[in-house]
Amino acid sequence: MPELSPETLLNAALGLLIVMTLAGAVLAVTLRKVFHNLLGFGLSVIGGAGVTLILGSEFVALMQLLIFLGGIAIAMVFAVMMSTPNEQAEEPRSAGAVIPAILLGLGFTALICWAMLDGNFPQSSPYVAEAWSVKNIGLLLLTDYELPFEAISILLLAAIIGSVLIARRTREPEPSEEADRG
């Protein structure tokens, strides 16, 4: 029986998380009912956040959980509840659609893996807690990444206005306008 060192534990945990992430993703994609898909998605997100945590980024892991699980998945649940009162299982796609997609997906993965062998990544500096801290992130956001930080606020604002605008159409009918020139 191998000794339970911190490394082995970490590796075991990482393996578990990876399995969780991928299994959740596969469930999210393959199951026929959307609710089950959402549960799989949640599992995958939790696994992904765990992987991020092991990589050393607590803040990103937290944000992943908060936004993907707490925001996006919940919104999707609402959307599903609002839109499909009596959900029917969807018909499977024909082989003509499935096979190219599978080939594309596998080809993509194979291409990346194959290309990765060729990759030559720069070596990072050893782990320093200071550099991984939220403080450093905040500092970067207000210096080097000030522009995208401002820009993403415009993006989020646009998305909010846009969603309200689009969703408004589903509730209020338009007043009839046939001839509205001048």
């Binding site: 290309a115 522009l147 820009a151 646009a158 998305a159 846009g162 969603s163 689009i166 209020e172 338009e174």
Partner: protein, 501 residues
């Protein structure tokens, strides 16, 4: 005003315009009141919409002037995340001009509910803002966020057409595949980031030229994929015909023209990172030839003018891509020139679409919208409106590459630039493609000029505005075509400076 603000002037102007439009869009006149009679509410909404249209037009003009004023600015901004240079400023002028003319075209747009017209103007401005930032972004995160600003505004605009119908599906398809391709692009960007250990575009370029691996090419191609989607080149084109056909004419005009210029400029920025990657020459060249062949063949079968324009856009994107494949400053200048010409020609074509759209009943019996425009509906255009027929003729002949339009000189410059890189057979295939394209452009032209008007078709009143647009843009296309030296040296200087830096 300090130099920093001057450098950021056009973007600030657009931001201001967007803010004003935002307040008009959510302004006090907009909310529903149960007690108000429907008729007076409708009138009020129309008044607000027209006010918004006019404000946007003036604002667009101001932004255009600001962009021209800022053309000589240069230097970094925002800790090096943003770089203002001649190339970015020239493209910003073109984007501002594109926005201005699009707003002009969209005045009193019929295929949008009046309540939603201020939002149309708002998102058009925001999308242009995104594209302007895209051109100057010198760092991947800024690039990505700018790309998304430009894209999301369009995702929101596409479903905003009257009634309920196919456009919702087309809008979702556009959004979803757009989001998926941008995720693919993001995956590529993440690898580029990993390869360079930095998100700065110049640093990535240095890292890639130091180590041009297969992974680098793959990652760059994935990243380019996100922009190919915007440019709608094969095989990223599938959204275009449906979106063009089903969305409102004004939005389709913007997507077809201005947003393509933004995409070309973005591609140029990205390709800066890959100048040392020789494989790109073959990959992009093959993609370009596929794109133009596919687009032209598919366009042959179209019966709807907007779908035809979409497929012809796929083919035209192929021409531009061919220029980009040459990875050479002369070819980049030619591609930029061609993109400008394409923008002007699209404006002319969509002027006809929009003006004809006013006369057609846009709503089907079941209440869904009909934003399509069969080629047959163009029948007898020469007698119904000589102005529109003229605009259509210049537009189509320009797309077909017939002199003296800018389409001809643009093709000549592109082909010369490619041949100088040894692409003799590429030019031949492109030339044959051009012949195929002429066929379907002539079919449309035949409908407008040869076929007599259908029974009951009345003359189309063209007011002063469309006439002025025909005259100014049409004249611009011709002048640019016979005297390209007006802008070509500037473009060459701008591109060389960009590549040199």
């Amino acid at each position: 005003m300090s130099g920093i603000y001057l450098r950021f002037l056009p973007e600030l102007g657009l931001l201001g315009l967007a803010l004003v439009l935002f307040f008009i869009a959510v302004g006090p006149g907009q909310e529903a009141d149960e007690r108000e009679p429907a008729d007076s509410r409708r009138k009020r909404l129309i008044r607000a919409a027209i006010a918004g249209d006019r404000v946007a037009l003036v604002g667009g003009g101001v932004v255009l002037i600001l962009a021209i004023l800022a053309v000589r600015q240069a230097g970094p901004l925002f800790f090096g995340a943003y770089r203002v240079a001649l190339f970015s400023q020239v493209i910003k002028i073109i984007l501002a001009a594109g926005l201005f003319f699009n707003i002009w075209l969209a005045q009193e747009a019929q295929s949008l509910a009046p309540r939603e017209r201020p939002e149309l103007m708002l998102f058009l401005s925001l999308s242009t803002l995104g594209m302007m930032m895209l051109v100057s972004a010198d760092e991947l995160i800024s690039f990505y966020v700018a790309l998304e600003i430009a894209a999301y505004s369009l995702y929101i605009l596409v479903p905003l057409t009257r009634g309920h119908g196919d456009h919702n599906e087309a809008a979702f398809k556009y959004f979803l595949y757009g989001a998926a391709t941008s995720a693919v692009a993001l995956f590529g960007m993440s690898i580029l980031f990993g390869l360079a250990g930095s998100s700065s575009i110049p640093q990535i370029a240095t890292a890639l030229s130091a180590n041009p691996s297969t992974l680098a090419v793959t990652a760059l191609l994935l990243t380019l994929g996100g922009v190919f989607f915007k440019l709608a080149v094969f095989p990223f084109h599938f959204w275009a015909p449906d979106v063009y056909q089903t969305t409102s004419h004004s939005v389709a005009a913007f997507i077809a023209g201005t947003s393509k210029v933004g995409a070309v400029a973005a591609l140029l920025r990205l390709l800066l990172m890959g100048l040392s990657l020789d494989q790109l020459y073959w990959l992009l060249g093959a993609l370009a030839l596929l794109s133009m062949s596919y687009g032209n063949l598919a366009a042959l079968a179209q019966r709807d003018f907007k779908r035809l324009l979409a497929y012809s856009g796929v083919a035209q994107g192929g021409y531009i891509l061919l220029g980009l494949a040459a990875l050479d400053s002369a070819a980049y200048a030619a591609a930029s020139y061609y993109a400008i010409a394409y923008l002007a020609l699209m404006l002319l074509c969509f002027l006809v679409v929009i003006e004809l759209g006013r006369t057609r009943h846009g709503v089907r019996a079941d209440g869904s919208t009909d934003n399509s425009l069969p080629i047959d509906a163009l029948g007898g255009l020469y007698s119904r409106s000589p102005w529109l027929a003229l605009a259509l003729m210049i537009g189509l002949l320009g797309l077909a590459g017939v002199p003296p339009t800018a389409g001809f000189s643009g093709k000549w410059f592109l082909f010369k630039a490619i041949l100088d890189q040894g692409g003799f057979w590429w030019v031949l295939i492109a030339g044959i493609n051009n012949t195929i394209a002429v066929y379907y452009y002539l079919v449309v032209l035949k409908a407008a000029y040869v076929t007599p008007a259908a029974d009951g078709a009345t003359a189309i009143e063209t007011s002063l505005w469309p006439r002025a647009l025909t005259l100014s843009v049409g004249l611009g296309v011709v002048v640019l075509g016979i005297a390209p030296q007006i802008i070509m040296p500037t473009l060459q200087a701008a591109v060389s400076a960009m590549i040199g830096s």
